[in-house]
């Protein structure tokens, strides 16, 4: 079966304050449909950098990046934007909700992005379905300042899911949440893989990592299977 994404020998060097620093030094990663992958690593090891390459915020310096059978290593920004809209969903540690918009409008943001057009009615149906999937359809009209952290993060997950992406990228989504709420969020994310979504979860929490199908560790710019496979 063709994998959803396949990175081979991906490198990324960032211009540091004084000298360039190689953050990714040849990363290999393959994610299939329905896969869930946890990525561990010390702070500053380059986990967010890796996700931004996978999510097409940034491009690799070297190596190859395939989406299905399409080589997207050097894809131009215009096409990257279209792929971010159609293929990827993102969840971040900070929820990045717009506080002047309601939960529903925040979710609809991913639909109102200049990539295709849905009627207001279809948009509403999709938004409610996405909110329902994370169990907060009743909060659709609330604005973020009136939502708890866990609720806000679930709005963000609904926003990531509303276009039914094939790959979900989550960068420490539970970092700002208590354990219990974090568990709920991680479970919501993992549940997406039941529908064939591929999930890449960056986390510091080994319990959360253990709920994923695979656990990898990023260190010295390389991605390897984690030694400390913990079974709960």
């Amino acid at each position: 079966m063709t994998p959803l994404i396949r990175l081979a020998g991906v490198t990324k060097t960032l211009k540091g304050q004084e000298q360039p620093r190689t953050i990714l030094a040849g990363v290999d990663l393959t994610v299939h449909s329905g896969d869930s992958v946890a990525i561990l690593g010390r702070s500053g090891s380059g986990k967010s950098t890796l996700l931004s390459v996978i999510g097409l915020f940034d491009r690799p310096d070297e190596g190859q990046y395939l989406l299905g059978e399409q080589d997207i290593t050097r894809i131009p920004e215009r096409k990257a934007a279209a792929l971010r809209s159609a293929e990827f969903g993102f969840v971040f540690q900070r929820f990045f909700l717009l506080k002047h918009l309601t939960a529903a409008q925040n979710v609809a943001m991913a639909l109102v992005n200049g990539q295709g057009w849905l009627s207001r009615r279809k948009r509403k149906a999709k938004v409610l379905a996405a909110l329902d999937r994370v169990g907060i359809a009743h909060l659709a009209k609330h604005k973020p300042p009136r939502l708890s952290g866990g609720e806000q993060q679930r709005v963000a997950i609904a926003r990531a899911l509303v276009r039914e992406p094939r790959i979900l990228l989550a960068d420490e989504p539970t970092g700002a949440l208590d354990t219990e709420t974090g568990n709920l969020v991680v479970e919501a994310l993992r549940a997406t893989t039941d529908h064939g979504c591929g999930l890449v979860l960056v986390t510091h929490d080994r319990d959360h990592a253990a709920k994923m199908g695979r656990v990898l560790r990023l260190s010295d710019g390389l991605l390897n299977p984690a030694a400390e496979r913990v079974v709960v």
Binding site: S85, G114, Q115, E172
Partner: protein
């Protein structure tokens, strides 16, 4: 098509959300821009109105631009020949001028010499100057008692002069050049003459210089001709019932015989010239020039306009600085929003476009407000001062000022929005979203 309208609709929603989230800020931007746009609108409107008023005056008194004018000395057979050549033509009209006194017989007119009646003595002493110096000219009224009579210039026309000088009919009607000439000359007064008659209630009998019989004129209308002294217009052929052709143009203050021709009437000009020369008019006494006052006037006016527009532009620039300042602050504040929107797939060009469109919209709204204020102010001014300054009466807001306002608003929008738009497009998603 669907793609484009999807983009457009998305940008409308995103832009609308942006403006709604920052109503006060949008309003303050508008305030900072308002004075500048208003200044541009006012300068442009003022210049247009002044231009129109001047142009209307100039056309009335000197003729439309491009009109060919021939001045002839009314000597010999000149007048007779000219009248003969031009009779019945519409593309060329001859004007003769003779002094006439209308009113009580045998009295000295209230404005001896034919000057404006409200400036007594204006032309009262009829001075004339030649190589021997200046001296007084006898007026023919020596020893006559003062009485109720008005002296005016009687202008004989071979055709409708209004295609060259667009007189405005004030009341009654303009001369009818069709049909046979009437035995009692039909006269159209200018407003100055009409006012003189109203003021002095003179009986209507007309003495003509050079005629021994007094005619009883019929006044058929009043026109605004842009002149300052009383004058009346009459068909040449009706005047010829009372005067010989040689006496038609003996006015001391008049320009002699004047022929106005449309630019296209070069054949008539040739024919007239040939006939005049054949009739003994010296070739070198036939002077023709073309009216181009507008051009000369416009250069002076447009210089003024540019100076004022320059000052208005400075005010506008201050407004632009304000809108730019607000725009940059807003982009700084919206960095996360823009990065997030790009993360979910919004093309960066669309985002830049939305930022630019928001300021453009602010500029346009400001322009609309400024134009609205301009229109209302002009209406108020016209209502309050219209009676004192006729040029303000029934005036309409010049569309040029509206265009200038919209352009100023758009330019301000572009200047104030471009830098923030470029910044918005350049926000690196990876950096902003890195947790």
């Amino acid at each position: 098509m669907i793609r484009l309208s999807g983009r457009l609709r998305s940008s409308l929603i995103i832009g609308g959300q942006g403006i709604r989230a920052r109503k006060l800020r949008t309003f303050l931007s508008m305030v900072s821009l308002f004075m500048g746009v208003l200044a541009v609108v006012v300068v442009q409107a003022g210049a247009e109105i002044a231009n129109r008023a001047l142009l209307a005056d100039v056309e009335l008194s000197q003729g439309k631009d491009g009109t060919r004018q021939m001045y002839l000395n009314p000597e010999g057979k000149t007048v007779e020949t000219a009248l003969d050549v031009l009779a019945g033509r519409t593309d060329a009209v001859a004007m003769t001028t003779v002094q006439a006194i209308i009113g009580e017989p045998g009295v000295k007119p209230v404005n001896e010499g034919g000057g404006p009646v409200d400036q007594p003595g204006g032309y009262g002493r009829n001075m004339t100057c030649d190589v021997n110096g200046c001296y007084e000219v006898p007026t023919g009224n020596e020893g006559a008692p003062s009485g109720q009579a008005v002296e005016l210039q009687l202008v004989g026309l071979t055709g409708d002069i209004r295609s060259f000088r667009p007189f405005r009919v004030d009341s009654g009607q303009w001369l009818d050049f069709g049909g046979d000439p009437s035995l009692a000359p039909r006269l159209v007064l200018n407003t100055k003459a009409a006012e003189a008659f109203r003021r002095f209630e003179v009986p209507a009998e007309m003495r003509l210089q050079g005629s021994t019989i007094n005619a009883t004129p019929r006044f058929v209308g009043v026109v605004e001709d842009g002149g300052y002294a009383p004058a009346a217009y009459v068909r040449s052929d009706e005047l010829l019932n009372w005067l010989g052709a040689g006496d038609l143009s003996s006015g001391r203050n008049g320009p002699g015989l004047q022929v106005m021709m449309s630019p296209a009437a070069s054949e008539v000009e040739h024919a007239l010239r040939a006939r005049l020369v054949a009739a003994g008019t010296p070739e070198e006494q036939i002077h023709v020039n073309t009216v181009n006052t507008l051009e000369r006037m416009s250069t002076e006016l447009s210089l003024m306009r540019w100076i004022f527009l320059g000052m208005a532009a400075l005010v506008l620039l201050i407004g632009v600085a304000g809108i730019l300042n607000v725009g940059l602050a807003t982009v700084g504040e919206r960095i996360e929003e823009f990065a997030l929107r790009r993360a979910v797939g919004t093309p960066r060009l669309l985002l830049a476009g939305i930022v630019l469109a928001e300021t453009l919209l602010t500029g346009l709204l400001t322009a609309a407000a400024a134009i609205g204020v301009g229109v209302v102010a002009l209406q108020l001014a016209s209502g309050m001062f219209g009676s004192r300054y006729p040029s303000l009466q029934g005036i309409e807001f010049p569309w040029q000022a509206g265009v200038a306002g919209v352009v100023a608003g758009l330019v301000a929008g572009v200047l104030g929005g471009l830098v923030p738009a470029v910044r918005a497009a350049r926000i690196p998603i990876a950096t902003v979203m890195r947790a």
